[in-house]
């Protein structure tokens, strides 16, 4: 395998997961903050808020996971090798 290609692949794998974590991180922080606010205002709705929050967090996490899938494809199933 071309050393340039392998170096670029490893670098790109790191960057793809790192960059993909930024947006969902901000989003999850906002969502969790709002959920805590909601629970503080209405403690009796805690169960419903928790369920919805978990679902929403998993949706946001999916975006990071797409980055992870790209990173895994670069590392283990590199199309350019």
């Amino acid at each position: 395998m071309d050393p340039i290609v392998s170096a670029a692949s490893v670098l790109a794998a790191g960057l793809s997961i790192g960059l993909a974590a930024i947006g969902p991180g901000i989003g999850q922080g906002t969502a969790a903050g709002q959920a805590v606010e909601g629970i503080a205002r209405q403690p009796e709705a805690e169960n419903k808020i928790r369920g919805t929050l978990l679902l929403c967090l998993a949706f946001m996490e999916a975006l990071t996971i797409y980055g992870l899938v790209v990173a895994l494809a670069l590392l283990f199933a590199n199309p350019f090798s």
Partner: protein
């Protein structure tokens, strides 16, 4: 296919995870991933045994195992009812429920049972959902299900939704039919594989105690992913029905 650099010392930690290595079977000219099939059959067997135990001596007043299974069925009924609404949910409970129980069983079979004790010539036993073929099959099944739901309810008028609200959105609406199964399959595949990779890498660094919380996280994430997959499938079907 795999670069030599991954067999050097630097990458031995990662290569132990066995990503991309499979235990191939040759079935009627098709190469299949044997390790996935074995675990899938195991999960199906477990689900069958559970449901037989739950319905073998069905009483009016449930106790023991029947009680547990009724609670589980109530749970998937709630998922279907929340998304599909009172008027449609009954006929979709079997589909949504099967998706939930199968994915849940697969994720937990990978996370709870110590498959690594069984040696394979190549590849390793793990959750069947960490193979992209399994998740793509499930996602395509969901695609067919919502097309079937829409066409059986509205006939060919179902395709009118492509030009709603304005015909300008036609390409985006068509693209959506491709991104739905893509995101469904990648989400499940990536999450399960990420859990197993984290546990493997952490175990090879610190073998004791430290990986335990991550393993619990894996068990938790497995159930959440099953919930999400079935909720999303129900939401897509509801969107086609409305």
């Amino acid at each position: 296919m795999y670069p030599e650099i991954f067999y050097s010392n630097t990458f031995t930690l990662l290569s132990e995870a066995g990503v991309g290595k499979h235990f191939y079977w040759n079935l009627a000219g098709f190469l299949v991933h044997g390790q996935v099939l074995v675990v899938v059959w195991f999960v199906l067997l477990i689900l069958l045994v559970f449901s037989f135990l739950g319905t073998a001596k069905a009483d009016r007043i449930p106790h023991g195992w029947q009680n547990f299974m009724e609670a589980a069925v109530d749970f998937v009924t709630d998922i279907a009812r929340d998304q599909l609404g009172e008027s449609f949910y009954k006929e979709w409970i079997p589909f949504i429920g099967t998706l939930f129980f199968f994915i849940f069983g697969c994720n937990w079979a990978g996370a709870v049972i110590p498959w690594k004790l069984i040696e394979l010539p190549e590849g390793e036993f793990a959750a069947p959902t960490n193979d992209i073929n399994t998740t793509v099959a499930l996602a395509l099944l969901t695609s067919f299900a919502y097309f079937y739901a829409g066409i059986s309810k509205k006939g060919l008028g179902y395709f009118k939704r492509y030009v709603k609200p304005i015909p300008l959105l036609l390409p985006i609406n068509i693209l959506e039919d491709f991104t739905k199964p893509l995101s469904l399959s990648f989400r499940l595949f990536g999450n399960v594989l990420a859990d197993e990779l984290t546990v493997t890498v952490l175990t090879s660094l610190v073998p004791l105690v430290i990986p335990l919380p991550i393993m619990f996280l894996g068990v938790f994430a497995g159930s959440v992913q099953a919930l999400i997959f079935s909720t999303l499938a129900a939401a897509y079907i509801a969107e086609a029905l409305e």
